[in-house]
């Protein structure tokens, strides 16, 4: 019964865009039908997941499936539930948001396609997160990856979009290739394509490490761990904002899900697994946020913050793996609970920020932060939503980002109790996490301050208008969720505790979590903060007897300041970009002046992705040239040579077959 509800919900999501393909004459392109189906699917799906958590015995299902080796088996457990809730919530809110952001009336050429693939990606993601069989998992994974490609290339008329889509497709398929190898190895180990129970696999056998590395590569590409994040900034910037919200908020988490799931199969992973994940997490976190500071395209900037947050999640997962290796249940429980909560939290605040950025782009028509300014006047509600998302993503109390980082910190501090030196090395992740937090704060002060505060820098920013209600409601709901988790984190701890105990293959950690992570104290502290704030505000109000006069900002006595004299986003980030120039390699052009009373000069600064634009693309160019030359030699147009190749290939294959048999 429970699984029937869930499957119905998933099917409704999958095919929500199909009715819109018929009835070409309809002026709204079946917008409302798609929305209704999608909302219904999301509701049924959420209901199914909640019911499945209440009745774990009925939370799995196997249907006959005519694929050799595969069976259509689904199961919902606490780990998948942590990933599923954001999927349904954000898919539904994104669809509502699209009514105002991407109405069919103004986008008749791609609205239908967008809704079709939006439903497909949401439904297939729900399947990915519940599939209990490798083949089913791979099939759903491919649907998701392809739907993602068509969503990224919604505005295919732009060269930049096509380029981003191509890079996305290449990365997605490289990752899938690794997953094919991974699941074949897993099948050889187990004898079937069905997922094993947690902690069921022996990790001393040879393929275990190969399985881990393949998972790290295949799932790492999807998640966007540095240095595999190359597709992420371009794709998120090119897609429409509600699509970016979905991709960044929930789709990339499927990579984290895969990694968490594969790691759960092993009883006692070797120490280097945890260390690798932890180190990659720290690198992703620091470099992700450093790249973000250097961007001045608001969506690229947010995309780099996804890399950073995936890094934070990886730090939690790495700590959990180390805890499993060294049998430190606190490290495992707190690390994994923090990582999973950060998955939920990042889904909420990152989609909130992308939706906010969409409202800003909708109002001003540009993604360039340097062209904004003073938007809080024109878009007061969007401004508050964006500010809430910014405070949450910096991990500041009293919003939800703080809670998950707090759990990860607590877990890492428990590494102090280890008996040997190696787990204690993970303590170095604590200051790294603090630095990531500090850098994120710098970055979001920059975005919020430059975009929403100060004076408008362009006429478009000066005349910006508030978004319609269909765009504001989803943002308001997301902000409420962020605030609720921040104020009452205790509500989610039982679910996280169940997930952590399932993952580690042990039963007790649920009371452990509530004992060592006193979430109720956070709620009381938040209350204290609000009381103190209210007190200070009352004091300030009483201190002011009359309305304050308004004058222009003090400019050292200069009476005619213009908006162009304000600090810009680039100048705000310049100090930090300079500190990280070893990794960022910013391009600077111009800026030099000569002589007394110089003429007007130009200066531009741009930070491309070091790994993509300075590593992968030049390498691929060289490889293309090399293979082009090889092809010219091999494919020379003479038939006799081709026959020779056939004969040689046949001989090689026969030799191989003989050798392998002998």
């Amino acid at each position: 019964m429970i699984m029937t509800v869930f499957i119905t919900g998933t099917l409704l999501l999958l095919f929500s865009g199909v009715p819109g393909l018929f009835g070409r004459s309809s002026p709204t392109g079946g917008e409302r039908t798609a929305l209704t189906l999608l909302l219904g699917g999301a509701l049924l799906g959420t209901g199914g997941v909640i019911a499945a958590l209440k009745h774990p015995a009925e939370a799995s299902l196997t249907l006959p499936w005519a694929v050799p080796g595969g069976d259509f088996s689904l199961a919902i457990d606490p780990i998948s539930a942590c990933f599923l809730f954001p999927v349904f919530l954000i898919a539904a809110l994104g669809a509502v948001y699209a009514l105002g952001y991407w109405p069919h009336r103004s986008n008749p050429e791609n609205g239908r396609k967008l809704r079709l693939f939006y439903g497909l990606i949401a439904g297939s993601l729900a399947l990915v997160l519940t599939a209990h069989n490798s083949l089913l998992f791979l099939a759903a994974w491919e649907i998701m990856a392809l739907a993602g490609f068509f969503l990224v290339t919604t505005e295919e008329k732009y060269l930049e979009t096509r380029r981003a889509g191509f890079i996305y497709l290449t990365c997605a398929h490289t990752g899938t290739l690794a997953l094919f190898a991974l699941f074949i190895l897993l099948e050889q180990n187990l004898g079937s394509f069905t997922f094993p129970a947690p902690a069921a696999l022996d990790d001393n056998s040879g393929p275990a490490s190969a399985i881990f590395l393949l998972a790290l590569f295949g799932f790492g590409i999807k998640a966007g761990l540095t240095p595999l994040h190359i597709w992420l900034p371009g794709a998120h910037a090119a897609a429409p904002s509600h699509i970016s919200a979905f991709l960044s908020g929930v789709m990339i988490k499927s990579g984290i899900y895969g990694l968490v799931r594969i790691c759960s199969f092993f009883a006692a992973p070797p120490a280097w697994w945890g260390m690798t994940v932890l180190t990659l997490g720290v690198i992703s976190g620091v470099l992700g946020v450093a790249f973000a500071i250097a961007q001045h395209d608001i969506k690229r900037l947010l995309a780099y913050h996804s890399v950073e947050n995936i890094g934070i999640i990886a730090i939690g997962l790495g700590a959990a793996l180390l805890g499993k290796t060294y049998d430190q249940p606190l490290l495992t429980a707190l690390g994994l609970a923090g990582a999973l909560l950060h998955v939920i939290n990042h889904g909420l605040f990152k989609s909130l920020l992308f939706l906010g950025a969409g409202a800003v782009i909708h109002a001003t028509g540009t993604r360039e932060i340097e062209h904004y300014g003073g938007l809080l006047r024109g878009l007061p509600l969007t401004g508050i939503a964006f500010l809430g998302g910014a405070v949450a993503i910096c991990g500041l109390p009293p919003l939800n980002g703080f809670v998950s980082e707090w759990l990860i910190y607590l877990g890492l501090f428990h590494a102090l109790e280890g008996a040997t030196l190696l787990p204690r090395l993970s303590l170095f992740a604590i200051p790294a996490l603090a630095m990531i937090g500090g850098l994120a704060l710098a970055c979001f002060v920059k975005v919020f301050g430059i975009a929403f505060l100060g004076a408008p820098r362009t006429p478009a920013a000066a005349h910006a208008h508030e978004a319609p209600a269909s765009m504001l409601w989803p943002m308001g709901l997301l902000l409420t969720c962020c605030l609720l988790i921040g104020l009452w984190p205790g509500a989610l701890l039982p679910l996280l505790g169940q997930a952590a105990s399932l993952w580690s293959g042990e039963t007790p950690p649920v009371p452990l979590l509530t004992k060592y992570a006193p979430a109720a104290a956070l709620s009381w502290s938040a209350l204290g903060l609000f009381l103190l704030l209210a007190g200070a505000a009352c004091g300030l109000r009483l201190g002011l007897r009359k309305a304050s006069p308004r004058v222009s900002t003090w400019g050292c006595g200069y009476p005619l300041p213009t908006a162009r004299m304000q600090y810009t986003a680039s100048s705000f980030g310049a100090l930090l970009v300079d500190l990280f120039r070893w990794g960022l390699r910013p391009d600077r052009h111009g800026g030099e002046t000569q002589g007394l009373l110089p003429d007007a000069a130009e200066f531009s600064c741009h930070t491309p992705d070091t790994i993509l634009d300075r590593g992968v693309i030049p390498f691929c160019r060289r490889a293309i040239r090399l293979f082009g030359r090889l092809r010219a030699v091999v494919q020379n147009g003479s038939t006799s040579f081709y026959l020779l190749y056939v004969a040689l290939a046949l001989a090689a294959l026969l030799t191989l077959a003989t050798l392998s048999r002998g």
């Binding site: 500010l387 030196l421 200051p431 603090a434 430059i450 222009s552 050292c556």
Partner: protein, 303 residues
């Protein structure tokens, strides 16, 4: 608990401006002047609170949220730490992270309020503030790891509790390094010389002062008061590390704490008198050096 909290808040509200007075007096005496009276900061606050306020045309509500949050955070953070041997009113596992991140919250809004004016001076100040703080943050966490390791507990009250005194005998070197690092963090976070000059009016060289250039009247008073309390709270952590003794008499404990805080103010005043302000580009190097120093303190304990 309520009584303890009230005592903590009373000490904080009453004594924090005095530290600024002591620092000012010390600097004046070093310069061979008599200087302003010790209670001058109180007079200043009183005067500012009664004044009117002027707002810039470009500002929004964020401009006032900065001073409010900057004022509300230190009293809350003060509840998590012991004042000398007076135990903390509120203590739970993991309050150390909340302590650090609360100051992050106030920094976020102070810097945003600065950008709200649209002035490039204040933009410059905000950029410097967030840059230098994120370099100081790892040092603070390294120090906290050292304390957590020595106390075997994850609440600030226990970390700065009675276990600290025997710890000086066991791990004096690590604690000493941590203490020096924490002092540097204190100077950076409270914008003192050699990182920032709280007195100069040259906007181009300032960090914190330039961020609040456009605030006036009661809002500016809140900022000054909040800054004084922040100095007091971070100073109390430092003081407890340096003077970890606990006496049976509560009055003696209180006396040791107050005397220690005043001594800290004198030390800050001496540092400000005998050192020049660092060049802006040197500050990151000093901060990275301090981070390494504190990392060394942690490594000493992990061997």
């Amino acid at each position: 608990m309520i009584g303890k909290a009230l005592l903590h808040l009373l000490l904080l509200f009453l004594l924090s401006p005095l530290l600024l007075g002591v620092i000012g007096k010390t600097k004046a005496l070093f310069a061979g002047r008599w200087g302003a009276p010790l209670l001058q900061p109180y007079f200043d606050l009183w005067k500012l609170m009664r004044k009117g306020m002027v707002l810039s045309e470009t500002t929004t509500w964020v401009f006032l949220a900065g001073p409010l949050i900057g004022f509300a955070v230190p009293p809350l953070a003060a509840l998590f730490i012991p004042f000398g041997a007076l135990t903390a009113p509120v203590s739970f596992t993991g309050d150390l992270i909340l302590f650090v991140y609360l100051f992050g919250l106030s920094r976020f809004f102070t810097a945003s309020a600065a950008l709200d004016t649209g002035s490039s001076f204040e933009g410059m100040g905000a950029a410097r503030e967030v840059t230098f703080s994120c370099l100081a943050e790892p040092t603070l966490l390294f120090v906290l790891i050292v304390l957590a390791r020595l106390a075997g507990d994850l609440s600030l009250d226990a970390m700065l509790g009675p276990s600290l005194q025997p710890a000086w005998h066991q791990a004096g070197a690590a604690l000493g390094l941590a203490l020096v690092s924490l002092f540097v963090v204190l100077l950076v976070e409270n914008s003192r010389i050699p990182f920032d000059d709280p007195n100069t009016h040259l906007e181009l060289t300032m960090i914190h002062e330039v961020m609040v250039l456009d605030h006036s009247g009661p809002a500016f008073g809140l900022i000054l008061y909040g800054a004084a309390m922040k100095l007091f709270v971070l100073g109390a952590v430092l003081m407890r590390m340096a003077l970890p003794m606990t006496y049976p008499s509560p009055w003696l404990n209180l006396l040791v704490f107050v005397a220690g805080m005043l001594a800290l103010a004198v030390v800050i005043g001496v540092v400000e008198s005998i050192m020049a302000r660092l060049r802006l580009i040197r500050i990151p190097q000093v901060l990275v050096g301090t981070t390494l120093l504190s990392a060394f303190a942690m490594v000493l304990l992990l061997r």
